[in-house]
């Protein structure tokens, strides 16, 4: 946590209401996201209990499982889930634009990508779990001998959810987002990061007009009715134990006993648990939509569109489901790409948002000030190039030494490199520009700041590059176990005794 974020938390705690951490929205929000509020069965990690989902805040679709341990009912729930989710996930597949790749060839890129929103990081993990539990299932058409054939579209939904779950691990991606992550990125509350995972408590800090955030959060977390149930149900996927014991368990027992109407009773009870979170999701979305999007958010969303398009292409090419585990090279490639994306996200958020940049300046990773002097200078060499010396006055305390590389954003989005030439006095920094001035003997017009101009230099790169190429998986070296062997579709999970009732 940066010093400014700590300060914002302390201010929020003192004032009793949330404090902004950003002046723009740093994540993409589509016009029609699919909101999914899932619930899972206590003690049965992979057994969904119910879900409220949809794209219209007024008309959510309620799906429930009357007896979560019944395999047939679970499959019926998953089939219904596929019926609602797949049309959304597949909705952007066919509207494409042609984009010229760097290699010169043209590629199709989907113009938009469907977005999936869940309440918290537990919801993201549950989406991953659903994907893992569904994508290796076999349908009766694929394998007539399979003991428990899955409904037709369930494995396909598993592959989509796996893709979305995996993509959500990429820093700055927006295909699958958790509302609590979105809110805590943009606002600081006066409670701990753990408490911020509670969507109801988090909104308590954000709703407060005056002081009272702490009380509202406490009420959301702990207030119970006379029957001991939480007034604000948890945002899932775990349920309130008091609800489980006093409402759900007796109703499921009645359902098992064949009591008429027990399934409707369970449905209504789950709807009551899900609805407050559903409304909170849209409230959170409305808050986030009030922030204007950051300048570079659309560029990152294009990465999500490429990811969506690539998954579409793999499905259309008939490729097998994503493997259970990455091989050595794939894992290393993913990690390298995510580290690059993390560095890029940190740079872009700072460039998009003066409040984020202020935190970096306070940490000595950037400095801004007014240009006091510009001296022309040239590189020594066969062909002297302009290397002007720009001195600025700054109140920041950057961690600079002679030769430290610095960058600043030019109007066209490029980053101009420079290096610290000297620190001529207190509050003064002289930067030698080393690029971004064109190829001529004199700097291109406008590429060198003028005296009096306000500039902001960063000590971090604006367009960090990835690492070197890794070997192909079939060339995995001996130190890492050698090639993984012939790639073949993985078999479905074997049925175990615990799976069955």
């Amino acid at each position: 946590m940066t010093l400014l974020a700590t300060l914002a938390r302390m201010e929020a705690a003192a004032a009793g209401r949330a404090r902004p951490l950003a002046t723009v929205r740093h994540r993409h929000l589509t016009d029609r996201p699919l909101v999914l509020v899932p619930l899972t069965t206590a003690g049965e990690a992979g057994a969904p209990l119910g879900a409220l989902l949809g794209t219209d805040p007024e008309e959510p679709v309620l799906l429930t499982v009357a007896q979560p341990r019944d395999r047939d009912l679970r499959f019926r729930f998953l089939a219904e889930l596929a019926d609602v989710m797949l049309p959304h996930l597949e909705s952007a597949q066919d509207e494409v634009e042609a984009v010229a790749r760097r290699s010169g060839e043209e590629a199709e890129l989907c113009r938009d990508a469907p977005q999936l929103l869940v309440p918290n990081s537990g919801g993201v993990a549950f989406v991953r779990l659903l994907g893992r539990s569904m994508r290796f299932r076999r349908t009766a058409e694929e394998d007539p001998d399979t003991p428990y054939p899955a409904p037709a579209r369930v494995p396909l939904l598993g592959r989509w959810l796996t893709h979305y779950g995996e993509r959500s691990r990429v820093p700055g991606s927006s295909l699958l987002l958790a509302a609590t992550d979105l809110l805590t990125r943009h606002w600081a509350t006066g409670q701990s990061a753990l408490e911020d995972q509670h969507l109801g408590a988090l909104l308590g800090w954000l709703r407060a007009d005056g002081p009272g955030g702490a009380e509202a959060a406490l009420r959301a977390e702990t207030a119970r009715d006379e029957a001991g149930r939480l007034l604000v149900p948890p945002a899932g996927p775990a349920t309130d134990p008091a609800f489980d014991n006093r409402v759900l368990a007796p109703a499921v027992a009645r359902y098992d006993a064949g009591v008429f109407g027990a399934d409707v009773e369970i449905r209504n009870a789950l709807a009551g648990q899900l609805r407050p979170t559903w409304d909170a999701m849209w409230e959170a979305l409305a808050l986030l939509r009030e922030l204007p999007p950051g300048e570079r958010v659309a560029g990152r969303w294009e990465g999500d569109r490429w990811s969506y398009t690539a998954h579409r292409d793999r499905l259309r090419a008939g490729e097998p489901p994503q493997p259970r585990r990455d091989d050595a090279v794939t894992a290393a490639r993913k990690l390298a790409a995510r580290e690059r994306d993390q560095a890029r996200l940190a740079a872009q958020e700072a460039l998009d948002d003066p409040l984020v940049m202020a935190a970096r300046r306070l940490a000595g990773e950037a400095f801004s000030g007014t240009v006091t002097e510009v001296r022309p200078a040239y590189s020594t060499g066969r062909r002297p190039m302009p290397r002007p010396l720009v001195t600025l006055r700054t109140d920041d305390a950057p961690q600079l030494g002679a030769g430290t590389k610095v960058w600043r954003a030019l109007a066209d989005g490029r980053a101009q490199p420079g290096e610290c030439a000297e620190l001529p006095g207190p509050g003064l920094v002289t930067v030698r520009l080393t690029g971004g001035m064109g190829r001529g003997k004199e700097p291109a017009p406008g590429s060198v700041p003028e005296p009096g101009e306000a500039v902001c230099w960063t000590l971090f790169e604006h367009h960090p590059r990835g690492g070197p190429d890794l070997p192909d998986p079939e060339d995995t070296p001996w130190t890492h176990g050698g090639p993984p062997g012939e790639a073949r579709p993985e078999p479905p999970d074997p049925a175990t005794e615990e799976d069955l009732l």
């Binding site: 894992a331 690492g467 060339d475």
Partner: protein, 455 residues
């Protein structure tokens, strides 16, 4: 480090540390030059002669006519290694492969006639030994070299990440992996839990990936620390290497630190006298929760360094060359965070102290000084996170010195530790680290409290 069942080369040869070290080195070189396995792993505690071993192994491999590539982790390490090779064997043709950035390598290497530096591997094809960073080696294309190197030495292999080894391992047939398992583990800024427990977890260390796939590789250990004084080796060994103990190459009294100027009775001078006498000193500030760049602690660190130099310290050691003045370049300040290092640098500049190295634990790895002053990683903290509890961080900070180490810390760390037991999730298939940071912190704290001077 992980618990390893059998470690070869740990047999002691009587009481003579020199003989024990020679026996270990001989066994390592025999396995490297004549062994059947494709890899040899050498664990080296702080200051146990790792660089000397690398230079010796490189020269013997070159003498045997085996083309050798050396992989180090940072440019400073590469420059240092090339310099040691050239000094040890001025006729050995050494290549320094470097990046195409300006000033990519230390220009001091140009004074060695047999050393050739280039950004292109093709220019170095004739050199018997080519040295570069893992990052640069990863950019060497398979097509640029006719065939893989017969041998490689991977230096600081415990600080190298598994994915970095994956990128360079195709370049060599066999390799000697050398490193200190007690220092800081490699890390990643992004989450890597999804690969935890996989043998090739890209965020794990190169050695753990190697040993996961080849558990039968010979593992050796250097048994003697030549850097750490007799006052420090037992503590560092028991706190950070409980299952692979090592000892000091020097005995009590072999290393001496004295001051030409008598102490003025202040806490700073008393802690310096304690450290000169016992090898350790703890300057304890009153308990308080502070920001990371705690102004009082930073000022105390600067005051200790200032007085250390002002009091005209003299060091004498087992080499018997007579007392040598303790100069600023033989003193280092270690911190946990970069902003703390920056604050200490500013405070030292304010006192007119120049030439003292001030850096974070990450950057002090592999370095050696006569006296170190450490800002305790948990000083003034309200919590003890995994970062601050990491064993390697404290191990690096507590094992850089040849004579004495002064720790500056707020009171209350023991209570803080009691309130924050390690609570990292246990991952299936991941070796449990022993000791955990919590136990190591307690062990160091217990030793330091015997040399405590309240500020």
């Amino acid at each position: 480090m992980t618990v390893s069942a059998s470690v070869t080369g740990a047999r002691t040869a009587g009481d003579d540390p020199g003989a024990a070290a020679s026996a270990a080195t001989a066994a390592i070189l025999a396995d490297t030059l004549h062994g059947r396995e494709r890899g040899v792993v050498v664990d080296s505690p702080p200051g146990a002669g790792k660089s000397t071993l690398v230079v010796r192994a490189a020269r013997e491999l070159a003498a045997a006519g085996r083309p050798l590539m050396i992989v180090a982790q940072t440019n400073a390490q590469v420059d240092d290694l090339v310099d040691r090779l050239a000094v040890a064997d001025p006729d050995l043709p050494v290549g320094r492969l470097h990046s195409s950035d300006p000033a990519a390598y230390d220009a001091a290497l140009d004074r060695h006639p047999a050393v050739r530096a280039s950004a292109k591997i093709a220019d170095l094809a004739e050199q018997a030994v080519v040295v570069s960073t893992a990052a640069k080696w990863a950019h060497v294309q398979g097509g640029a070299v006719a065939e893989p190197w017969q041998h490689a030495i991977v230096d600081e292999a415990y600080q190298m990440r598994s994915d970095a080894l994956l990128a360079v391992a195709r370049l060599f047939e066999r390799a000697l992996f050398v490193g200190d398992p007690g220092q800081l583990d490699p890390f990643s800024q992004v989450g890597t839990e999804q690969w935890a427990g996989l043998s090739y977890d890209p965020s794990a260390s190169a050695v753990s990936a190697l040993l996961a796939h080849h558990p039968g590789l010979p593992q050796h250990r250097l048994p003697v620390s030549w850097r750490l004084p007799a006052s420090a080796a037992p503590l560092v060994s028991s706190a950070f290497y409980p299952y692979t103990p090592f000892r000091s190459g020097t005995g009590p009294g072999d290393r001496r630190l004295a001051f030409g100027v008598r102490g003025d009775g202040s806490a700073v001078d008393r802690v310096l006298d304690t450290a000169a006498d016992a090898g350790w000193g703890l300057l304890e500030l009153p308990a308080r929760h502070t920001p990371r760049t705690d102004p009082e602690a930073v000022a105390a660190v600067a005051a200790v360094v200032h007085r250390l130099l002002e009091r005209a310290g003299l060091t004498a050691d087992e080499r018997g060359t007579g007392p040598a003045p303790l100069t600023a370049d033989r003193v280092a300040v270690g911190t946990a965070h970069r902003d703390q290092a920056a604050a200490v640098r500013t405070a030292l500049a304010g006192r007119g102290v120049e030439g003292v190295t001030v850096d974070t634990a990450n950057r002090l790895q592999g370095r050696e000084y006569d006296v170190t002053v450490v800002l305790h990683p948990l000083s003034g903290r309200p919590d003890a996170t995994a970062f601050h509890l990491e064993t390697g961080r404290l191990c690096v900070l507590a094992s850089r010195h040849r004579h004495a180490c002064v720790v500056v810390c707020r009171a209350g760390v023991a209570e803080l530790l009691d309130e924050h037991p390690s609570a990292e999730p246990v991952q299936l298939g991941v070796d449990v680290r022993f000791p955990d940071g919590w136990a190591a912190q307690q062990a160091v704290l217990a030793e330091l409290s015997a040399h405590r001077v309240p500020a």
